[in-house]
Amino acid sequence: MNGPLATPNKALTRGRKNNFGTLAGFAVFALVFMYFGINAPGFLTQVNIVRNLILPATISAVISIGMTIVMSGGGIDLSVASIAGLAGMVAAVGSAKLDMSIALMILVALITGALIGALNGFLVAYCGISPFVVTLSVIYLARGLQYLVALSTVSGTYLMLPRDAVALGGKPAFFISAAVIVAVFLYVFLDHTIYGRFIRTVGSNMHAARYSGIPIRFYTWITYVICGLCCAVTGIMLTFNEGMAQVGSGDSYQIDAFLLPILGNAIFSRFSVQGTIFSSLFLYMIINGLFILGTPPEYLRIIKGALLITIILVSGLQKIISKNK
């Protein structure tokens, strides 16, 4: 126990054994990919992979990455879908009513997302209200604001975008590069900066974080702001993709935003940007493959829901098993 230089330096830095989950995750991914490649006609074409797999996966990934950051800090944000919808709506209105340039549209949307995120964060971090209740309430507000903002133009609850925006929205490269920028930035933020470390500490053990001098309220708050920004980016992507903004667009991503970080956590044993991206590709690969094979779209939701419950069940069982060891 007490020898001088008991363990030589090199040995000390030997890492933990590679997680079984990670290996299994990649293995299953490869297997499923090969399965679809063989059995689903048209799966392996570039058009399919890019437009029907990677594109939806990236849109979903961005909003889920926002949720990942919040979950890393020990919180949850159920309003993500409505923030995305609101931001997208604001962007569309900016263009339709105020004739904003694309850059300005994006800026306005981002500010919207950040403000709502800041509200969420304030109520959770500084007022001590359960994030669950706070973000559920904010869904209301955001949806109402969506209506409000949409009605300030003539056409009611949806708005058409000008041609150059629609053109941009037609190019997958736009979305993929936007998603990549967000992903890379937040990956570095979460895993390679001290701020990411602080956030993870708060999520891991709030008390230990406090006893180590980390300002827990601030770092809790900031996770919600970042999430709001990610939602705004998603909202922009959605608006550009569809060429218009509708009240309630974004709602279909609510399940994804919940499911993907949790799936990433289950596979890679912690919340991470990379894990969420991997899960997104995984999920949309399955959806795409099954779709080609003729599965009716109604079953999509069942798949997502069943997947979610299974993961939660498994992690619950894991907890019980490890407690009994």
Binding site: M71, G74, G75, I76, L123, V124, A125, Y126, C127, G128, I129, S130, P131, F132, V133, V134, L136, S137, V138, I139, Y140, L141, A142, R143, G144, L145, Q146, Y147, L148, L151, G203, M206, I216, R217, T220, D251, I255, F258, L259, I262, N265, P296, E298, Y299, L300, R301, I302, I303, K304, G305, A306, L308, I309, I312, L313, S315, G316, L317, K319, I320
Partner: protein, 316 residues
Amino acid sequence: MKTAKNAVRKNAVFGILIILFLTFAFLKPSFLKVDNLLNLLVQSTILGIVGFGLAIIMMAGEIDLSYAGAIPLEGAIFANLLQKDMGVWPSLGVSFLAGITISLVISQLVTRLKLVSYVTTTSMYFLLQGIWYAYTGGENVYFKEKFNRDLIFGSLAGIPKIVIFFLLLFVILYFLTEHTSFGIRLRAVGEDPEAAKTMGVNSITYKTAGFILGGFIFAIGAFFSTAKMSGALATSGANMLMPVMTVAFVGQTFLGMGRPNIPGVFLAALMMAMIDNAFVLMNSPFWAVPIANGIILILAIFLANVGKRDIIQIKL
């Protein structure tokens, strides 16, 4: 200062209700017409009933969001079987069975596997949504002729029957939760399972009972909702998620209870219906209702939590 904060916490939301009532009455005198007030009551029934179910589960210290998926599904099962000439009571029986099964599953996941209830029930909601889509193909299911709507929506002595059911349920549940040993033990388990254990009250038993009773009440709500629309609507689930949560949470703050309670849900349902009703009367733009609801919810929670400041985290 502490007593002032306490007073605010206890009475604020009730005060808001009164203020709103008076404001609406002032702005639109037609608000006070008997017809309109009765209509208001009718509007609040389904919300209130489902809210009762959620409140009971919350009293047991858990939360259950599966109703947003269970209710459309139960409604669809009922409507579908009815459409296929199975008869009212058997169809109803099957849909109730489905609901209770769902609640039973949830209760075991939460009490025995110790899964966190909001995550589990939210996931269950998503799953049930999916099952609903598969079962109905995403379409509304109607049963116009097969069911005598008057059973529910006719009037008895000038009062709509559904309102009578609502009030009856209110009275029964009120006594159950506040004036029986079951109620007091349920709430003890919800507040402090450890202390309850030392008092000889088993938390697994009572939480399971809470989930199942709540699920049963959700099924009642499903029945009324389906009967009201003469069918199961595609939009009923998602539309219901928020309002029911609102009444259960805001209901906590009514009457200074600071905990889920039946009268609180009743008043909160009335309040929500009142806002809806009044805004329609005033021809308000339809963004006004969700914004008003959102603000009220946030305000109610804020006031209810005045003074408490520890950050609450979600453990997944």
